[in-house]
Amino acid sequence: MNRTSLRRLAMAVSLTALLGGCGQPEFTDVEKRTIALMSLSALAPLPPDPTNRFADDPGAAALGATLFFDTGMSRDGNVACGTCHKIDRQFQDDLPRGIGVAETNRRTMPLAGVARDPFFFWDGRRDSLWSQALVPLENPLEHAGTRTSYAHYIKRRFGERYERIFRPLPDLTGLPANAGPFGAPSERAAWAAMTEKQRDGVDLVFADIGKAMAAFERSLVHMPTRFDRFADALARGTAPAGDAALSEEEEAGLRLFIGKASCSTCHTGPRFTDNHFHNTGVPPVVGLPVDRGRIAVVDEVRADPFNCLGKFRDGDEEACGELRFMQKSSPELIRAYKTPSLRGVAGRAPYMHAGQFATLEQVVDHYAKAAASIEGETEIHPLQLSDRERAALVAFLKTLSD
């Protein structure tokens, strides 16, 4: 064999090796683009909320913050929003199900970036941040209060502040201390006995409470983590180093997340959510009432008097597209729940809508197995994941916390 053919052989072999992708794997250009779009720096500015004209009013936000942490806003004087949405715990409570006046049936949701969502709660049964806030106030398991009690309380404690921000308070003299559409039978009867004008006045104050709380919640944002520093360095074309570096295991997890494990089809973009609802086959908790997810609340959100098409909305109807064109009857809504953001996820076990899984390892195991849903069809397909790959996925998720 002569020199030339030897050289040719060597060239062919090294070419094959090169093209076959041996050695330290690099992210492809497509992967790099996907990763850049997952960085917090790719997050668009928070859009305005034309349905709440106090959304960006600092006075309203300050009142909203006060009310959010005020246990006076409850029947027994012991529960505030902040009881379950703890300020130093990502605005959640580390419990499988939130506990107010009594235990609820769902996991308390963290609140960073929540103002960007079109629908609220695990099942999306409210269509604005301000109408969402009204639900726990009247839920007998949470704040358990009544509508007139909140109006009286606002007048007594914050009357002047309220009027400076919103409007003159309605005349509340002679109104029952406790009356509302969801209270005890006597409270409901008292509500029905009020004039329509009186009810409208109380409803307006009630909606304003929601709008103040929403103005406050708009200030809750995600903080950049090691993953973001890594993604930004990658996008700049510099080698991620120091507190921007990911270990080989974490990189492998990231590659799985956006590749073979297809987590990023739903957990997409800078917030790691598509803001939509999916059946992922998460099993129900034994002993809790039947929970059918999104399908069960389609009528509720459309009939809510505080929804975007109702009379308490500011601005015009143009802002109501999400409600008007929401998916109303598809079988895909059965046991469909909101895709949660995965930012900070390692620091807030347990997971899923009723705290079904205690650890991220259990979550990954659930996705690998892709068990059938108790009702409806899961969108998850079984995955062949080795122990190393599972550990890598978990390691990657942790980079969204530090």
């Binding site: 052989l9 093209l19 089809t265 803001n275």
Partner: protein, 146 residues
């Protein structure tokens, strides 16, 4: 080196070259031919010509937005009494549209505004329009890649 030896080495070289060549072809070939992305086509039974266009710029993932659908007869006359059913989804994910879009207004000249469209994921989407007008019922499917 004996002639058998030379032949073995030569065979190795050829195989390596072939693998190298295949690798080049495989890695530089365009991805499998994608779906037909035409935004204007004849409906399935041939009753109408249908063209679709986003109302304001190419849609972005997650944004609620509108499309304008233009319906004409095969001869090019605008169809102005059409009603629509709108469906679709992601064939590769076996799910439907995340919203239920509707034709909300007639803009004249066979043009209709479709509101409430949303693509919640990146990837291949299909939009299926059922069209009913005096000439009869027909349908057309469009592909989009986000």
């Amino acid at each position: 080196m004996g002639s058998t030896g030379r032949m073995v080495v030569g065979a190795f070289g050829l195989v390596a070259l072939a693998i190298g060549f295949l690798a080049v072809v495989f890695l530089t070939a365009p991805a499998a031919p994608g779906p037909d992305l035409a935004r204007a086509k004849t409906s399935l039974k041939g009753l109408y010509s249908i063209a679709i266009a986003p109302e304001s710029g190419e849609p972005k993932q997650g944004d609620l937005h509108s499309w304008v659908v233009t319906v004409t007869t095969r001869q090019g006359a605008p169809v102005d009494n059409a009603s629509f059913t709108i469906g679709g989804g992601m064939p590769e994910h076996a799910h439907g549209l995340p919203t239920s879009p509707e034709a909300t207004s007639y803009l004249g000249d066979g043009r209709y505004r479709i509101e409430g469209m949303k693509f919640s994921m990146t990837g291949w989407w299909q939009l299926k329009f059922g069209i009913t007008a005096p000439a009869g019922a027909d349908e057309a499917t469009f592909n989009l890649v986000l």
